[in-house]
């Protein structure tokens, strides 16, 4: 009888103290490079991009009448463990997650004539944070950056 009670107590304690989380978050459909392989800076325009990729996730104004269009998606998986230890009057909780779920994206920049100037691929937050709007429409600066990708170039 005692082992069963012990097991029950162990289950109760363990359930409340340790939790494993396995989560997946998905949003939108990933944009593969093949979908914009035919869009070359200097040769394609906004209409071509909209036809190839559909409606962007966001549209932003840039200096000199330019715009940036971003197509973003998320494929996040999280495996984590939460450990909670009640210590007299204080509750201690440790949490560990090992996977980032930032948005992936393709960002295209267009000039005032809505001609495509630059294509970038990467995490949306870093693409938008790394380049202030004033720098976003400078094709020469962007092309000198090794992170800049072009159709067929990745």
């Amino acid at each position: 009888m005692k082992p069963r009670l012990g097991l029950l107590a162990l289950l109760a304690v363990t359930t409340s103290c340790v939790q494993l989380r396995w989560a997946r978050v998905e949003s939108a459909t990933p944009i593969t490079q093949e979908r914009y392989a035919g869009l070359a800076p200097g040769h394609a325009n906004l209409g071509d991009a909209l036809e190839a990729l559909g409606a962007p996730t966001l549209v932003r104004e840039l200096p000199a009448d330019g715009i940036a269009c971003a197509w973003a998606w998320q494929r996040g998986r999280t495996l984590g463990v939460t450990v909670s230890l009640p210590v007299t009057d204080v509750s201690v909780s440790l949490d560990y997650d090992d996977v980032s779920d930032a948005l992936d994206s393709v960002v295209m920049f267009f000039d005032g004539d809505r001609e495509l100037t630059v294509i970038e691929r990467g995490k949306l937050s870093s693409l938008l944070a790394r380049r202030p709007p004033s720098a976003l429409i400078l094709p020469t600066a962007a092309r000198a950056d090794p992170d800049v990708s072009r159709p067929g170039g990745e």
């Binding site: 289950l11 359930t15 494993l20 997946r24 978050v25 991009a49 009448d65």
Partner: protein
């Protein structure tokens, strides 16, 4: 030899301790592709508004502008088993961006209708 009954006991308790949920959320009404395809380039913004209603967002692009129409669908599912919690969240949208020139005439339309593709699932699926 007593370990086998204990194992079954633990398994039974874990099943009793389990739970699950499924939820669905939507923002705005689904977009109808035909209504956007019916718009001709050059259409004045006021006629677009009359045909489609108010957009969810208007972005000023210098002297030009763009309207966003959007519908979002989301499905969540979760399974709680003893120590392990499994959660899945799937979100998709119907989205349309309409671009206008300095004279507020329609120049570009981009549409994506994916909201129907959301589904309930679990992380291992």
């Amino acid at each position: 030899m007593q370990s086998i009954p204990h194992l079954f006991g633990a398994l039974g308790l874990s099943l009793l301790a389990s739970g699950c949920f499924a939820s669905r959320a939507q923002i705005n009404t689904p977009l109808e592709l035909a209504r956007f395809e019916a718009l001709e380039l050059g259409t004045p913004a006021r006629d677009v508004l009359a045909a489609l209603g108010a957009p969810v967002e208007v972005v000023q692009l210098g002297t030009r502008s763009a309207y966003l129409y959007e519908h979002t669908a989301q499905k969540k599912a979760g399974l709680f088993l003893f120590l392990l919690n499994m959660l899945n969240e799937d979100t998709n949208t119907d989205r349309a961006w309409l671009f206008f020139d300095e004279a507020d005439r329609l120049t570009h339309v981009g549409t994506t209708l994916d909201a129907d593709e959301v589904e309930y699932s679990l992380p291992f699926e």
